[in-house]
Symmetry: C2
Subunit: 195 residues, 2 copies
DNA sequence: ATAAACATGTAAGCAGTTACATGATTTT
DNA sequence: AAAATCATGTAACTGCTTACATGTTTAT
C-alpha cells in the first residue's frame, strides 16, 4: 500500500528516476525507510503511470524509462500525509532474532551477535560516508533540511543499536553480571536526552 | 515468512497461549518485534499444528484453544536463528512520512510532528510501566535477561526518536536555525556511546 | 440490559517475493 | 572474452489485510 507513497516521496524531490534507480535507492541506506523488490517497483510504476500519478519523462531506444511526478501525484502525496493514519506496526526480523537468542548455547549466541554488530557497523560507515559527501552540496532548501535530519536519525539509531548489542553480549554470555549495571552506560546517556 | 518464527519465539518461553493472546501480544509493546493481524495468526497456528511445530495444549467446550511448542518446533526455531540470513529490509511508514514532510506547509508539518511525538510518548510511558511491574518478578534466567535487554533497547530507541523529533520540528519550522547546531545536543550524546 | 472485550474462523482480494526470461553496458 | 552490473518485465506463488460471520464473557 505505501510503496506508492514511497515512490511518490522519492520522485517529489524533482529528479527523474528509472525503476532500477528507485529499487536501488530503496535497497541501500539513501531511502532506507521503505524496501521493495525490483519487480514490484516496475509493476507499481506501470499502475501509477496509468493512474496519472507519475508520467514518463524519457524513454530511450532500448526501453530505459525514467519517470517524473505529476501534479496529481503531488496532491496524492499530500493527501496521504494529512488524511491517512500512520501505520506504526513493525516487522523487524533482526530484532526478533536478538529477542530469541537465549534458546541457543553461548558460543552460537556470541557468533550471531558479532555478525549483527558487523552489519550495523558497515551501515554506520556507509551513512557517515554518504553524509560527508553530501553535506558540501548544500542549497539549504526545505528538502535538504529534511534529508539532513533523516541522516542524523539513522546514524543515531544505528549507534544506539551498536551500543546495545555490546551490552546484550555481556548480559547473555556472562551470567554473573547484573543486567541493570551492564546497561547503565546506555541508560545514563539516554536519561540525558530527557533533560 | 517470519510469522512462524515469531510465534515459535513467543511459545518457546513455555507459557501456553491462544491465538487471541498471541495477536494481542504482537499488537502491543510486549512482543513488538513482529506484527500480525488476528486472522493471520489463527490460520498460521493451524498450519503449524499440522506441521507438528506446535501442539494443542487445551481446548475448552466453546473452542478456546491454547498451544504449546513441540520439540520439532524448538529445533526449527534454532535452525532458523543459525541457518537463515537475517532480513534487514525495512518498511517504516512513520519514518517515510517524517522524510516527506517538507512538501507541506509549516502549520501542517507542526501538527503532524506533534501527533508523532504524542504517539512515541505514549509508547515510552507504556514501556516504563511494563518494565517497572516486571522487574520485581525476577527469576534471573536466560529468558529473563534476554527480555530485560529488549525493554532497554525499545526504551532507548524510543527516547532517541523523541529527541530527534524535537530537533526535526525546529529544523523544518525555523529556516534561520542551522540544522547541524540544532542536532548538536543529540549528536554529542550519541558520540559518547562510541567511547 | 447493553456495550466492550474476549475468542475463533472463512473468503476475497491485494501486497510482495521468487523464479524466470531477455538483452545492453561496463569493468576486469 | 568473461563477468558483473545495468535495465525491464512476466508468471506463479506466498504473505497479509479487510470484511464478514458467529458466539461468549465481563464490566457498567
Amino acid at each position: 500500500m505505501a510503496l506508492k507513497h514511497a515512490i511518490l516521496s522519492a520522485l517529489s524531490r524533482g529528479v527523474p528516476r528509472t525503476g532500477y534507480e528507485l529499487s536501488a535507492a530503496f535497497r541501500d541506506v539513501t531511502d532506507s525507510a521503505w524496501h521493495a523488490s525490483p519487480s514490484q517497483v516496475y509493476s507499481e510504476l506501470q499502475k501509477m503511470a496509468a493512474a496519472g500519478l507519475i508520467a514518463v519523462h524519457k524513454r530511450d531506444d532500448r526501453g530505459k524509462t525514467s519517470y517524473v511526478i505529476t501534479d496529481d501525484g503531488m496532491t496524492e502525496l499530500r493527501r496521504w500525509l494529512i488524511d491517512d493514519e500512520p501505520d506504526h506496526s513493525v516487522r523487524d526480523d533482526a530484532s526478533l532474532r536478538m529477542l530469541t537468542l537465549w534458546v541457543l548455547d553461548k558460543e552460537t549466541i556470541g557468533y550471531l551477535i558479532d555478525a549483527e554488530v558487523a552489519f550495523q557497523q558497515r551501515r554506520l560507515i556507509q551513512l557517515e560516508r554518504l553524509l560527508k559527501e553530501w553535506k558540501h552540496v548544500r542549497p539549504d532548501t526545505p528538502v535538504w533540511r529534511n534529508r539532513y535530519s533523516s541522516y542524523v536519525m539513522n546514524m543515531s539509531i544505528t549507534t544506539v543499536r551498536l551500543s546495545w548489542l555490546k551490552g546484550l553480549r555481556t548480559v547473555l554470555l556472562d551470567e554473573n553480571v547484573d543486567p541493570e549495571e551492564t546497561f547503565a552506560y546506555l541508560t545514563d546517556v539516554i536519561d540525558k536526552l530527557h533533560a
